[in-house]
Symmetry: C2
Subunit: 437 residues, 2 copies
């Protein structure tokens, strides 16, 4: 699927933040890169970007991105970007887009892939276009002063413009176009208006501009500093949506890890580096446990809980910066297993030093084995529960580490070990039973 | 795909073994059940079985099987089975098979699904049939006295019969037929020969009988006691073909477990029961380790190795008796992890009793963790190695348990623990490194 992206403007209202608006970094990733990567996720695989201001630097960024994505990104320079409207930028790309329908996006509009998926499932009108329209009037991310509005009837756009008094929804800036758009721009241009919205109005008057409702989907036009702030908050807020978060993760770890991720995203730290750092904290915590005194136990417990919080950042950074990978998830899982093992053995050693009874090693053995087995059986069990629609086991790693932290805090290590040993092995047996058919 | 199976004969040469030949059990599974289940694996999903001798009992067996497989199995009684040839049995099923091509199998021929897969990938001649022909003249499973031979030219059968002097291959008794077969039987019958091979000869003379080469595939006609014996040996021998067997499994465990499975197959023991029994043996072995004396250590080591041998039988029985299931494999894997954990902890406890140094628990911890991690990372790593064509890790469970056995035999438990601790954790780190991209 071809995709045209308009990135010619200067973004004067964001001048302080970056020299070029498309290159403006949001949580460590330039706006234009976010737009292209999101479109990629929805299936676009051939890009044309119209550049203007700071064109050379945008070109360089896009060349790097093209190599990373293994996906062609052509650039077209609109040399008259300072004096012309955005319809002019679209015409500059006409020769590359004459043959087939194409997506049309704005470099400074962030959105979720779902909007494009909705847009392309509906047939585009012959010699017309479809526009993704947000009909959620209370969308807090919309800047009412600045947004383009549309008025529709039976799914067809009737009028479009910034100053409509009566309207049904907002123009998200995400279009699926036929090449007829180019003629519509020329027609509107002859009448004296070269803006894209004038061309859409031309098509609308001939019932060739369809509105596709995408209410409820995330999108935002990053036009000024306040919008940039709102966009950052929105991206961070979307990280909370992970359905698999356990209770400790949901109420304690995730709110904190998101705050940490906000800063980490702006550095060059990779998710795997975060996973490893979290693992190291756990190992140090375990070593502190094994010293046998209460102060070191307490410090170890704090480190373990901190490691558990930071362990959320790797996935968050990966999602915020399009760095998710199957290897990353696996690397994190393997290190988590080692971290669990070290922490449980450290607790066992602490109890051994304080009781001098070797029987604690039997309890430690069962705690270690049970924890491993719950992880070992998780994939199969979770897969089964998904297909059966049942609920997942609620004592996940977040709860386990929190119990360890509490055990350290109140110097009640042995009860926590016993609890983990009993619950984890019972859970494994329960899974063997539940899955048997 | 429809499938006609001839099961009318009495099998007089096998009279001592069972009252009905189709119901004759081979490694615990009646011949007719093996035929139908194998055809199912190759894609057949609608069966017609012509019964004769002991028809009621065959009917009852097939009704059970039909319920288990969720697959229709109709039976047609050939009441004149004692006085007529097999062509007569085929005609008895004509009304059920007039509309489409169908597989034709003999209830007493065992074979691997691959033969049917080869047969159905080649187009069947218009108004004719295809016959799977074995051109491997030194096939030790063929009874030269009894087998039907074929002479071919350019892939077409020229002549077929038991007494050919010059021939190119053996009739495997596995056909893909068009409904024209019924007319061919009537034509041959009018000439005085109602046998299937006479009808094939009729078609062959009109260049309507194709030979499909299935040389190298497993098949056997179970016609007498010697053939039954050969079939049993062949099925057992095929169990050795598991590519993933480690060296200890290949040279020690598998040869012994196959001998055990030969007896177990004839009982009602299920694969999961065997998995659990093997697990119990390991736990008892671990408890014997933990007593701390050499005699109990030795006995524990022997039990652990015996458990490892018997651990091969669950999979073998599952394959021999069509009882394989995803759950069974998972159940076995989970119990193996527990068995590993118990054995390693038993060894640790033994060393602790004999050295009184708590540091052995640190070594035991690393051995336990390393073993778990190698299992935990196995799926991902093996999948990757398969796609990259690389080799698998050779220190599998068979080697691990054998090392434990040797450690017990020579009273060198600590060196084995150290070895397992070092090798297993190094291997996990290596996997993290190799898979990183």
């Amino acid at each position: 699927m071809k995709c045209l992206i308009l990135a010619a403007g200067k973004g004067s209202r964001l001048r302080q933040q970056a020299e070029s608006k498309p290159l403006l970094p949001l949580l460590g990733v330039p706006l234009i890169v976010r737009t292209i990567r999101t479109a990629c996720k929805a299936g676009a695989d051939d890009f044309v970007v119209v550049t203007g201001h700071a064109g050379k630097r945008v070109d360089a960024e896009l060349e790097r991105l093209s190599n990373n994505l293994h996906c062609p990104i052509k650039t077209v320079q609109n040399t008259e970007w300072e004096t012309t409207e955005n319809g002019h930028s679209i015409l500059a790309a006409e020769t590359l887009l004459q043959d087939e329908n194409f997506l049309l996006l704005m470099a400074d509009h962030l959105f979720e892939p779902q909007i494009i998926r909705k847009l392309i499932t509906e047939p585009v009108p012959d010699n017309g276009l479809s526009l993704a329209v947000d009909q959620q009037f209370n969308n807090p991310l919309v800047d009412l002063e600045d947004v383009t509005k549309v008025r529709c009837a039976e799914g067809w756009i009737q009028v479009i413009g910034k100053n409509l008094e009566v309207y049904d929804g907002y123009d998200t800036g995400i279009f699926l176009c036929t090449p007829a758009l180019f003629d519509a721009i020329r027609t509107a241009s002859k009448k004296g208006d070269t803006r894209l919205s004038a061309a859409v109005l031309e098509l609308a008057q001939e019932r060739r501009a369809k509105a596709v409702d995408v209410s409820g989907c995330f999108w935002i036009d990053v036009d000024d500093k306040a919008a940039l702030e709102r966009a950052e908050q929105a991206l961070l807020h979307r990280l909370r949506g992970k359905v698999h978060d356990g209770p400790v993760s949901r109420w304690l770890n995730r709110p904190l890890s998101i705050r940490i991720s906000r800063y980490l995203a702006k550095t060059g730290v990779t998710p795997n580096q975060i996973s490893f750092f979290s693992f190291l904290l756990s190992v140090i915590g375990a070593l502190l446990f094994s010293l046998g005194s209460y102060p070191s136990l307490l410090l170890g417990g704090l480190l373990a809980q901190l490691a558990s919080i930071i362990d959320g950042c790797d996935g968050e950074i990966a999602r915020l910066k399009y760095q998710s990978s199957a290897y990353g998830g696996w690397f994190d899982a393997v290190l988590d297993r080692y971290a669990d093992a070290f922490l449980l053995f450290g607790m066992t050693w602490y109890t051994w030093l304080n009781t001098a009874s070797a029987l604690v090693f039997v309890i430690g053995f069962f705690a270690l084995t049970g924890s491993f087995m719950v992880s070992y059986t998780a994939d199969k069990y979770d897969g089964l529960m998904r297909s059966r629609g049942g609920s997942r086991f609620r004592i996940g790693r977040d709860v386990r580490v929190f119990l360890i932290f509490l055990g350290a805090l109140f110097d009640q290590v042995l009860p926590v070990l016993v609890f983990i040993a009993v619950v984890m092995n019972m859970e494994t047996l329960r899974r063997l039973w539940v899955c048997r058919k």
